[in-house]
C-alpha cells in the first residue's frame, strides 16, 4: 500500500506518464540493446535511448520488514525489498501479499500501481504459489 502521494519532477515525468497507463518503463539503449533502469537519464541522447515497457515481473533479491509506529503507538510491519526485474535492473519497493515472517528471497513478484494524488505509484506484489 502506498502511504502518500508522490510529485513528479522533470526526471520522472515520462515514467509517470507510463505508470498511469499501467506500464513500468525501462530505458533501452538502441545501440547495444541493453535494458537500463528507469532512472537512467535518456535526455543525454533521446534518439539513442528509447522507453520500453518492462514485463513487470521480477524476483526478490533482498527484503526487510519496516516497523512503523502509528500515532496510537501500535506497530505495523511493512515488508519491503529489492526486486531484480526480469530485464535485469533492480528496483526498491514495498512488497504486498506476503507474510513478513516468510523468507522472501527468490519470491516472484509482479508490479501493480496505486493512484494516489495525481500519480500512479508502482509497487510489487507476490505471485501466488511461488517461492
Amino acid at each position: 500500500m502506498i502511504g502518500f502521494p508522490v510529485q513528479r519532477d522533470e526526471a520522472t515525468a515520462e515514467f509517470f506518464d507510463g505508470t498511469v497507463r499501467g506500464e513500468f518503463l525501462l530505458v533501452r539503449d538502441t545501440r547495444t540493446g541493453a535494458l537500463l533502469a528507469p532512472q537512467f537519464d535518456r535526455s543525454v541522447d533521446p534518439r539513442r535511448y528509447e522507453l520500453v515497457p518492462a514485463a513487470g515481473t521480477g524476483t526478490v533479491v533482498s527484503w526487510a520488514v519496516v516497523h512503523q509506529r502509528g500515532a496510537d503507538g501500535a506497530t505495523s510491519r511493512v515488508p519491503v525489498g529489492i526486486v531484480e526485474l526480469d530485464e535485469g535492473p533492480w528496483w526498491w519497493t514495498s512488497i504486498e501479499g506476503v507474510d513478513p515472517d516468510d523468507n522472501l528471497l527468490g519470491r516472484h513478484v509482479v508490479v501493480a500501481f496505486e493512484k494516489v494524488g495525481d500519480e500512479a505509484v508502482p509497487y510489487f506484489t507476490a505471485i501466488e504459489g511461488t517461492a
Binding site: 502506498i2 502511504g3 502518500f4 502521494p5 508522490v6 510529485q7 513528479r8 519532477d9 526526471a11 520522472t12 533502469a37 528507469p38 532512472q39 537512467f40 533479491v61 533482498s62 527484503w63 526487510a64 520488514v65 519496516v66 516497523h67 512503523q68 510491519r77 511493512v78 519491503v80 525489498g81 529489492i82 531484480e84 535485469g88 535492473p89 533492480w90 526498491w92 519497493t93 514495498s94 513478513p100 528471497l105 494516489v116 505509484v121 508502482p122 509497487y123
Partner: protein, 388 residues
C-alpha cells in the same frame, strides 16, 4: 624539493549527544578552537579550513568569518557523507604535501537533536518532500537509512548465513569498549546479548542496537607537516596512506550490494601507500553506522575471510577490550557518539597518540581507519601511525 610529510597535530571534540541550544555552526567553531589549543597553536596559525556537516546549510565556509580567520590559502565545504572526514584528512594531507597550505583545520559538526524531539524523528524531519525517484521509494516505505542498510545486511545473511546473533556480538563488544570511554553516550550502560535481542526492531533484521546513535556536537582535526607537528604540544600522528573507492550503481544494479563494499578496493591501496601490511595493524577504527557495516568492512579489509565475518567475530576472545582484534576502541558510532566519519578518525588519533587511558591498546603504531557513506556507496580509508 622534497614534499613535506603530513601529520595530525591537533584534535578537538565538543560535548557529545543531547547537547541542546546550540547550532551545528557553533559546535564547529568550538571544535576548531579546541583543536587549535590542543595542538598548542593560535587560530591565526591556521591557513586552511575544510568544513562539513550533515546538511550543507548548517555548517558552511562562513565558519571562516565566525572564527575570524583571515588570509586563508585553502577553504572549501566538502560532502562525501560518511566518507567525508577521511576524505578531508586526505585532501588536507595532499595540500600540505603540495605546499598549498601549511596548517589546516578540518571540522565536522551536526545538531539533529532538538529538545523534546525523539531521536528517530530528528533525521526523518529533515527529509525532503516525496518528489521524483526518491519520492517513489519513500512512498513505498523505504525512507530511512535503517531500512536501506537492513536490505544490504539481509543479502549478506542470505548468502553467507550471517545471523542476528552474530550482529549482536558486535553490538555487545563495542558497548564493552564504551564502558572504558568517559565521553561515550553509553558510558555506564553496558549491554548483554539478551538485551540486544530483546530490543525493539527498527527494520528487520535490525534491532535498535544494530543502529548507531544520533548526536549533537562537533569534532575538528589539525593537519600540518610532520616537521611542524614535532615542535607542537601533542605526539604527532603521521598520515601514512590513504585511498577512496566509490562502487556506484547501488540501488540500480550492483551484485556486490551488501556483500562487498569500497573498503575491499581502498584498504589494500592505502596499506600499500603506507608500506604497511594488515598484520602490522594493531588497532582498527571502522565506520559502524550499523553492526553490519563494521562486519562488512572488517571482511573487506581482510581481517577475516569474506563471508566468515559473522561466526568469526562472534568467537569468544575475538572482539571487545580483551579480544585479539582491537576494533572501535571508543565504542564507535554504536555506543560512543555519531559524528559520521569523525567518530573513527577521532578514536584513531587518540589511540595513535597513546592517550586512550583505560582503553589504550598496547600496539598502536599503525592504525587503520574507514569512512563509509550513502548506502555503501562511498568509502575512504586512512592509515595513521606514530612518529618514528
Amino acid at each position: 624539493m622534497a614534499h613535506p610529510e603530513p601529520a595530525v597535530a591537533g584534535l578537538g571534540i565538543t560535548e557529545q549527544g543531547k547537547v541542546y541550544g546550540r547550532t551545528a555552526a557553533q559546535f564547529a567553531a568550538e571544535a576548531v578552537r579546541l583543536a587549535v589549543v590542543d595542538a598548542g597553536l593560535e587560530l591565526d596559525d591556521l591557513d586552511g579550513l575544510l568544513v562539513s556537516g550533515r546538511l550543507s546549510d548548517s555548517v558552511g565556509i562562513d565558519l571562516q568569518g565566525s572564527l575570524g580567520l583571515t588570509d586563508l590559502r585553502l577553504l572549501t565545504y566538502m560532502q562525501g557523507y560518511g566518507s567525508t572526514a577521511g576524505q578531508m584528512v586526505q585532501y588536507a594531507a595532499m595540500a600540505v604535501q603540495a605546499g598549498m597550505a601549511d596548517t589546516i583545520a578540518i571540522v565536522w559538526a551536526d545538531d539533529p537533536l532538538k529538545d523534546r524531539t525523539r531521536a528517530s524523528a530528528a533525521y526523518a524531519k529533515a527529509g525532503s518532500a516525496p518528489t521524483g525517484w526518491r519520492g517513489i521509494t519513500t512512498a513505498n516505505g523505504i525512507y530511512s537509512a535503517n531500512t536501506m542498510y537492513a536490505l544490504a545486511a539481509r543479502r549478506h545473511m542470505a548468502r553467507y548465513g550471517t545471523t542476528q546473533d552474530h550482529l549482536g556480538h558486535i553490538a555487545v563488544a563495542q558497548r564493552e569498549w564504551a564502558q572504558l570511554n568517559p565521553i561515550a553516550q553509553f558510558y555506564g550502560t553496558p549491554l548483554t546479548l539478551e538485551e540486544y535481542h530483546a530490543s525493539r526492531y527498527i527494520a528487520e533484521p535490525f534491532h535498535l542496537y544494530d543502529c548507531c546513535l544520533i548526536s549533537n556536537g562537533g569534532v575538528a582535526v589539525i593537519v600540518t607537516s610532520l616537521e611542524r607537528a614535532r615542535g607542537l604540544r601533542q605526539p604527532p600522528v603521521r598520515i601514512l596512506g590513504w585511498a577512496q573507492a566509490h562502487p556506484g550503481n547501488v540501488g540500480i544494479r550492483n551484485d556486490d550490494f551488501g556483500l562487498v563494499s569500497g573498503a575491499a578496493a581502498a584498504g589494500p591501496r592505502a596499506l600499500e601507500m603506507a608500506d604497511t601490511t594488515l598484520d602490522e595493524i594493531g588497532v582498527v577504527q571502522v565506520y559502524d553506522c550499523y553492526t553490519f557495516t563494521a562486519l562488512l568492512t572488517l571482511e573487506d579489509y581482510g581481517f577475516i575471510p569474506k563471508g566468515e565475518g559473522g561466526p568469526a567475530l562472534a568467537e569468544p576472545g575475538m572482539l571487545g577490550p580483551k579480544g585479539r582484534l582491537k576494533v572501535n576502541t571508543g565504542g564507535g558510532e554504536l555506543s560512543a557518539f555519531y559524528m559520521w566519519g569523525m567518530t573513527p578518525v577521532h578514536e584513531a588519533v587518540v589511540q595513535a597518540r597513546g592517550q586512550g587511558g583505560a582503553r589504550q591498546v598496547e600496539q598502536y603504531d599503525r592504525v587503520l581507519v574507514s569512512g563509509n557513506g550513502g548506502v555503501l556507496d562511498y568509502h575512504s580509508t586512512l592509515v595513521l601511525g606514530t612518529d618514528r
